[in-house]
Amino acid sequence: METLTALIIGILTAASVYLMLARTFMRFLFGLILLSNAVNLTIFASGRMTKGHPALVPYGADTPLHAVGNALPQALVLTAIVIGFGLLAFSLALGFETFRRTGTIDTDELRFAEPEEDTQK
């Protein structure tokens, strides 16, 4: 299971780097989605993958009855997914607004903040 997860993380990261090297902001964002999934899997896997019961304590007891799975990485991944989702929504809106105002999201053509003639003065 660990080997398989490691392979998936590797493939996701490789694909995301390929996408992020593209000039278009949309492709970059797709790469970012894949990369954030790869990172989430990394966190999930580093909590050790074991068979176990859900980390629930029955009503009235102080400790769980069976050996439970590690719940902390799941909490971390959940947080990271939520935050990642918010940031992605913002980035998509930013990309869309940029396209609407400037007509391009090709990063080679996006030179409004640093015009070329700046350096020749």
């Binding site: 902001f25 970012l32 990369l35 790869a38 990271a80 930013l94 903040a113």
Partner: protein, 499 residues
Amino acid sequence: MSWVLVLPIAVPFATAVFAYLARNTPAGRWISLAGSVLSLIASAALMVAVLREGVIAAQMSNWDAPFGITLVSDYLSAVMVVITAITGLATAIYALGEIPEETERLGFYALFQVLIAGVTGAFLTGDLFNLYVWFEVMLIASFSLLVIGGGKDRLDAGIKYVALNLVSTLVFLSGIGLLYGVTGTLNMADLRGAVAAADNQGLITVIAMMFMVGFGVKAAVFPLFFWLPASYHTPYFAISAVFAGLLTKVGVYALMRMFTLVFVGDVGFTHEILIWVSLLTMFTGVIGAAAQMDFRKILSFHIISQIGYMTLGLALYTPLALMGGVFYLVHHIIVKANLFFVAGLAKQYAGSTDLNRIGGLYKSAPLLAALFIIPAFSLAGFPPLSGFWAKYLIVKAAIELNMWFVTFVSLLVGLLTIYSMTKIWGYAFWKPHPEGYDPTPDRAPPRVTAAMITPIAGLAAMTIIIGFFPEPFVQFAQTAAMQLLEPTDYVTTVLGVQP
């Protein structure tokens, strides 16, 4: 005791809520101002508590460390929180003059207060994953503040800023995941022992490098700084001042924290890399600034160059060097935010920030000229201003280690900084105003000018005070450095405290 640690974070968040509710009325800006004053009081209370007890910690929701989230403050955290509140207050006043009403209605003050809360949280947390969350709070607020008010250049800058910062966050996050996999803990004080006890030290060094890259992008060190000069010259001046003052310093703070508290197993390797990174950061930053002809672009490149001094203080890893690094951090936030404020007022008076299109400010705005001199010369390291003592400590530490090349580069970069500052002085202040460019596009009402010049004068006064009476500040930085190098107090306070 825990309220002292919670209030500096809670006050800006509460202010943000009220400022958002009142965003359509003029009350919004006054709520923001009042909230900033309250933040300053809360951070002063924290500083008093830290000065009395050394290190204070609190466990959130009564979950004992290392399982729950810990808030902890030593000298370094406390001074960073105070300086954040001061910068926040200065910006809140400045924004009264600069920010137009339509931007206020978009929720400018709410976003600004969330940014301050995020920065403060990052300084106070004692939990690595919580640090990630604060970074994100800070990032999402800074993304919005960067593009608020629209304009093609802001959107363009926003794309570059967002893209590189998101990648760095993911590198940082996967570092957290791997570190948790190796040690099984995320509490920073607990990590110190767990990392030292880990059997695979090679893997720890790899993870340390991931943290260095992740924080390095935030701190804008060589070769990861490209997002900074691409974006910092586009937003409102109030915003670029608070970005320039605080955001990159959060990266530096995180580097200082992690590479003194946790990753100290292989100092010869990790800190050696940091030395070279720092030197290249200092040099490329100052050379980049020499090529620019825009007020804010020059200042942006100088942020990069000055970051190098701070990380150099960490990289040399002696008590004196770290003391210089802490002193530099505090001095730089005041000075750099102030220079961006001055740039905003210069644009108000002369109509542009392009040095070729402005001039004659010495004649038309003598008070501004006098107020520019103070932070500019402090940045370059002229005695007796605060920058001189900061540079002096770092250079002295390098000389004590017999690192002559490091000493040479530090002094050379100081010299080149003077070149840039005199360039701004010569073009913007001394040169007569070029013909064909309107000197006063919209003469601002005195209320606006007063709101903008008050924080400039206040921060300049602080620079002078630190410069003429450096003794208490140096002693404070010394204690902070000792706490960083010998974090036994930090560790026992966090792990042993009863909720």
